[in-house]
């Protein structure tokens, strides 16, 4: 703000008749800053010396050496191998990965639900609109922790025991122990299937490029989306047929009181991810609604008067403009969801806050290091996101001007 130039904060503003040096805004600004810096430094110094005395007197170790020590507890869900004698460093890694897993699944789910509800809120159909409004008002006005507890209880109460579990195709089993599903076991020739997926994606991109070029030259349009879907599903199917379906599934089986084999999704993960998605979707819905409403009605009318159908109008005129309004707040909702995944600690899903800031802190007592690392992880995610946001805003701003 250039209007503030020459006026610097000083508690003694207004005292006139002093020596000019004190009234010189630059000098005042300098003194004011110096005082602030000294206060900050003194507070930090006091904190550090206090911490040193306190740690010494309580016999708490310092430093990051504990990361190499074995953690003597188990983790009930891990994306990477986790054994009994894994280190606290490994615990941290498992926690980060589990946080990212909740964030990724939650973001996808919340986006799908949020866009659907947001569009429903703009529906010409009163019933659909009303349901959308009820969804938004209810989900946004109940604390996320409350919602997590609620869904957790629902899952536990209404889930059968493993013996009576719901099953789908005799391969997916749902019970109070969580969701068991077949895991993929790759046999000989599976590499070709993986390869064919890559090829299909590349082909789809080629088709898109070709279709664009052709449209530029001849004006002919081509159903790129359907072709791409067909390619990405079809090609791997054909390849696996050629190799005699070298993929087998490890199907879970009921043995005794629990299942063997397959992949297990623990109910804590389901409750947490589901509740956070439902909660965040309410906010996303409002963002989407506001974004679409921000595109003036005149834009749709102008497109209509040029003969564009509603579909292309949406794709070429409304969405590109709405997205510019939607993306920045949407990103901050994604960030909120990621930060809210720390609520996992309340239901015992092993992400970073629960097993690192929780269990690890309890066992090692090294509060300063543990909390600093935990905060750094979240800060890193936040900073990366805001770098992306700045980049996006700059890009959009460039288009505008």
């Amino acid at each position: 703000m250039s209007v503030q130039e020459g006026i610097s904060p000083s508690p003694s503003t207004g005292d006139s008749g002093r020596v000019s040096l004190v009234n010189n805004p630059r000098v005042r600004g300098f003194i004011f800053q110096l005082i602030t810096a000294i206060i900050i430094a003194v507070v930090l110094y006091i904190f550090v010396t206090n911490a040193q005395t306190n740690l010494r007197s309580q016999g708490i170790a310092t430093g990051f050496g504990f990361l190499d020590q074995p953690a003597s507890f188990d983790v009930n869900q891990s994306l990477i191998e986790f054994t009994q004698n894994a280190t606290y460093g490994r615990v941290l890694l498992v926690g980060i990965l589990n946080t990212l897993l909740v964030a990724a699944v939650g973001i996808i789910l919340a986006t799908i639900i949020g866009f659907m509800v947001g569009i429903a809120r703009l529906s010409p159909n009163w019933m659909v609109r009303t349901l959308g409004t009820i969804y938004v008002e209810v989900t946004r006005n109940l604390p996320p922790l409350f919602q997590i507890f609620f869904w957790y209880v629902v899952l536990i109460k209404f889930s059968p025991s493993p013996r009576d579990s719901f099953s789908l195709f005799n391969a997916f089993f749902y019970s109070n122990r969580g969701l068991y599903m077949p895991s993929v076991v790759l046999g000989n020739g599976a590499i070709f299937i993986e390869l064919s997926i890559v090829i299909a994606v590349v082909l789809a991109l080629v088709v898109r490029y070709w279709a664009r070029k052709r449209q530029e030259q001849t004006g002919e349009q081509f159903p790129v989306l359907w072709t791409a879907i067909g390619l990405i599903i079809g090609l791997p199917l054909i390849v696996s047929a050629i190799f005699g379906f070298p993929i087998t599934f490890d199907v879970p089986e009921l043995g005794g009181f629990n299942f063997r084999g397959g992949t297990r999704v623990i109910p804590e993960f389901v409750a947490l991810t589901w509740a956070l998605s439902i909660y965040t979707a309410g906010f996303i819905a409002e963002i989407v609604r506001a974004g679409i409403m921000a595109v003036s009605h005149g834009q749709t009318e102008a497109a209509g008067s040029l003969g564009l159908r509603p579909g292309p109008t949406l794709r070429l005129v409304v969405i590109p403009q709405a997205m510019r309004v939607i993306i920045p707040p949407l990103t901050s909702q994604y960030l909120n969801l990621t930060k809210n995944s720390s609520l996992a600690v309340a239901v015992g899903y092993p992400e970073i806050t629960a097993i690192f800031a929780g269990t690890t802190l309890n066992q090692t007592g090294q509060a300063i290091e543990v909390i600093a690392i935990t905060m750094c992880v979240y800060l890193t995610i936040s900073i990366v996101t805001s770098i992306f946001m700045n980049w996006y805003n700059r890009r959009v701003a460039l288009v505008e001007r």
Binding site: G219, A303, S305, L306, V317
Partner: protein, 260 residues
């Protein structure tokens, strides 16, 4: 130009082909509000009509019915022989032939001037990009702003934006052009450049319906001036007679008000 007839007596096939636009007994309501009352209007090919009237008189609504931005509830509307009904195909057909220019330009702010002009030809007329760009440059040259093609609407003045909007509509090579108060949102010094563009368009024989209060423009190019009030057509005459010799009380009062 046709003689005065009763609407009912006009055989349809004849009526629909002979005129560029024909409105027969058109009525429209917004909820309980009766906005258009028994509108009967025939526009011949190449005819230029200026529609004026106080705000809320239904003039904008009327021309917006012609490309179905608004739906009428009673009566019939034919555009170039095609009747406007709920049939989407017919609506598409009509919209391809009818260009429209809005009061607030409604340019697409996320697209360059050139992209604004080529969007519809590419996606509706399925024109190759290069050809669409040539067409666009042709019309941008015609509205005298070819050098702005790579800029975005936000970088242009109001008058320039409105001229781009005219060029954008022309790129679809419409047979009929509708203007909905094209100069009302402009600063005074920019009105002329837009009107000049419209005059040159009129001189080329485009069928035009203009809702405007620019009486100079009406005198210069209109074949007919229509005065609307209370949702109906009150008076219609060729411009000199209309301005020199208004018949209806409402017309006299309106003209007295706007010409002070």
């Amino acid at each position: 130009m046709s003689v005065t007839q009763t609407a009912a007596a006009v055989p349809q096939s004849q009526a629909s082909t002979r005129h560029a636009i024909e409105l027969i007994d058109v009525n429209k309501w917004y909820g309980e509000f009766h906005v258009l009352k028994d509108i009967n209007l025939q526009v011949s090919r190449g005819e230029r009509i200026v529609i004026c009237g106080p705000s809320g008189s239904g003039k904008s609504t009327m021309i917006r019915c012609i490309n179905r931005l608004e739906e009428h509830q009673k009566g019939r509307i034919f555009v170039d022989g095609t009747e406007l009904t709920n049939d989407l195909k017919k609506i598409d057909e009509v919209r391809r032939e009818v260009g429209m220019v809005f009061q607030h330009f409604n340019l697409f702010p996320h697209l360059t001037i050139l992209e604004n002009c080529t969007l519809a030809p590419i996606w509706v007329r399925k024109m190759p990009k290069k050809e669409a760009e040539e067409v666009a440059m042709h019309f941008l040259a015609k509205v005298k702003i070819p050098e702005q093609a790579k800029k975005y609407p936000g970088q242009l003045s109001g008058g320039q934006q409105q001229r781009v909007a005219i060029a954008r509509a022309l790129c679809m090579r419409p047979k009929i052009m509708l203007f909905d108060e094209p100069t009302s949102a402009l600063d005074p010094e920019m009105v002329k450049e837009v009107l000049d563009t419209m005059v040159s368009l009129a001189e080329e024989g485009m069928t035009m319906l203009c809702v405007t209060h620019e009486m100079g423009f009406a005198r210069q190019v209109a074949d007919r001036v229509i005065f609307m009030d209370y949702g109906q057509i009150i008076e219609s005459n060729e411009p000199n007679e209309f301005f020199a010799n208004p018949q209806h009380e409402r017309t006299k009062k309106f003209l007295a008000d706007i010409l002070h």
